[in-house]
């Protein structure tokens, strides 16, 4: 009986410690990756640049149609509804504040990050998992290739840049489509919000927007690479690690978003 209790408390303890240590482990992985990237890219490295470009196209450019579609849907479903609600409860000034703070600075980055995690991070985790399992990663090490510099860093940078660009693209589409929809079906004067919105952001807001999106992108890329490279022997580890990378990335992004919200208070 005592042994069973010990086992249960031990398991709970290990899981709690794992939760606490995971961000530390991930931060060390990210730092090590960028250190390797800097060390091995002192001069222009064509192989790494080509890897970065391929990842940017996959994560950023290829995702544009999906992001645009979801942006329009959010514009119709969320922005237009917010405008109609604020019309009842508040004035025009409050409406601009709500749109800028809730849609542009919160919902846009979060929804974009969730899309990137679902679409690109899962693909990265699976790809690196198979590469590790098939000993492709080891093969590269044996050729003197630092796989952090060639495989991981380009993916981290690409997801960061893609997250920032797609978040801007997403929020513009969502806000414009929502305002246009509201103007078309509720009151034509709502179209003036577009001009007012452009003046609603302080420099601090913009800096936090850029920093938050870059960090979200790095988290999405890093969790995927970290878990993909943890695959060892069996193909069954690939879906397990992919699922862990998705859950960890989403959790970390919500926690980071909360921390940013606290910073702005």
């Amino acid at each position: 009986m005592r042994t069973r209790i010990d086992a249960i408390t031990g398991a709970v303890g290990r899981r709690t410690l794992g939760l606490v240590l995971y961000p530390v482990d991930l931060a060390a992985f990210i730092l090590r990756t960028f250190q390797d990237w800097r060390q091995h890219n002192r001069r222009y490295n064509r192989a790494a640049a080509s890897s970065l470009l391929a990842q940017l196209i996959f994560t950023g450019v290829d995702a544009l149609p999906t992001i645009a579609l979801i942006g329009v849907a959010v514009g119709f479903g969320l922005v237009a509804q917010l405008i109609s609600l604020m019309d009842v409860f508040g004035g025009a000034r409050e409406m601009v504040v709500v749109l800028s703070q809730i849609v542009v600075l919160e919902t846009g980055p979060l929804l974009t990050a969730i899309l990137i995690i679902g679409r690109s991070s899962s693909a990265i985790a699976v790809e690196l998992g198979y590469m590790t399992l098939n000993k492709e990663v080891e093969g590269l090490w044996l050729l003197g290739v630092n796989t952090n510099a060639l495989l991981v860093a380009p993916r981290l940078l690409a997801t960061a840049v893609a997250q920032l660009s797609l978040a801007v693209f997403f929020t513009v589409i969502a806000v414009v489509s929502g305002v246009v929809f509201a103007a078309a079906f509720l009151a034509p004067s709502y179209i003036n919000f577009l001009a007012e919105l452009t003046l609603a952001f302080t420099p601090i807001d913009l800096i936090l927007f850029v920093a938050k999106n870059l960090l979200f992108g790095i988290i999405a890329g890093a969790t995927a690479c970290h878990h993909g490279l943890q695959v060892e022997r069996s193909p069954t580890e690939i879906p397990q690690q992919t699922q862990r990378s998705i859950v960890s990335a989403i959790s970390l992004i919500f926690v980071t978003d909360g921390l940013f919200a606290v910073m702005r208070l």
Binding site: S50, K135, E138, G139, L142, L143, G144, V145
Partner: protein
Amino acid sequence: MTVLRASALIAGEGLAPLHLQLLGGATVCLVGGDAQLRSAYLRSLAGAQYPLGGEVELLGHKLSTLDDSRWLALRCEVGLVTREAPLVSSLGVVRNVMLPAMYHGLGSRGEIAKRARTWLERLGFAGPAELLPAFLPERERKIAALARALMLSPKLLFVDDPLYGLHGAQAQRIAQALYECCRELDCTLVYATDDDAFMRRHAEQILFIAPPAPRLFASWQTFHDAPDDEVQRYVSEFRTEARAFD
């Protein structure tokens, strides 16, 4: 010049320590009935895994004293083609072969592509070079892995029998081409193989990995005629297998 020195190396349980010294430009064959044990010795000698005991020195560098970046730098001069010979699955064959030279910045893109195609041709590559590895026959994939290792012009190349699954004559032709490429590069070739035609023609030393201790022989003939039960068992078994295979 000594390119490899192993002192009291142990890479398999229950085997006596190996002392070995290889000179530059030599061709050494690693043989033995147990492929896993043979791989363990080859990987330990190549610095790709920690041995159970002893020390390996490659091109004057003691492996136990190398940090990560110096170990990676050494890999440009010491190649290892493993038994699986994996290529990067998301890159076409030519880009796979070009990758290490591109990464290390060994020439312009055009020069590297030309060199890659030359090595592929020299080793007898016969498929469409732009295809992904998954769409190519095993023979072409193995050739591409060997060509990729040659791209860095290594001083020492370890090859862990990547041709084991191929038809005897096909494998012999590729091994012969590999030997000629290594001669041209003045590269020491350490080749784990069961190909007796290759050993007879080219092996300057044969390292036989079997209990109770790894033994070094000066040529195929001395190996073949050795009054050693393990060696004779290996020779007779392997010859039966080779005949059945052909």
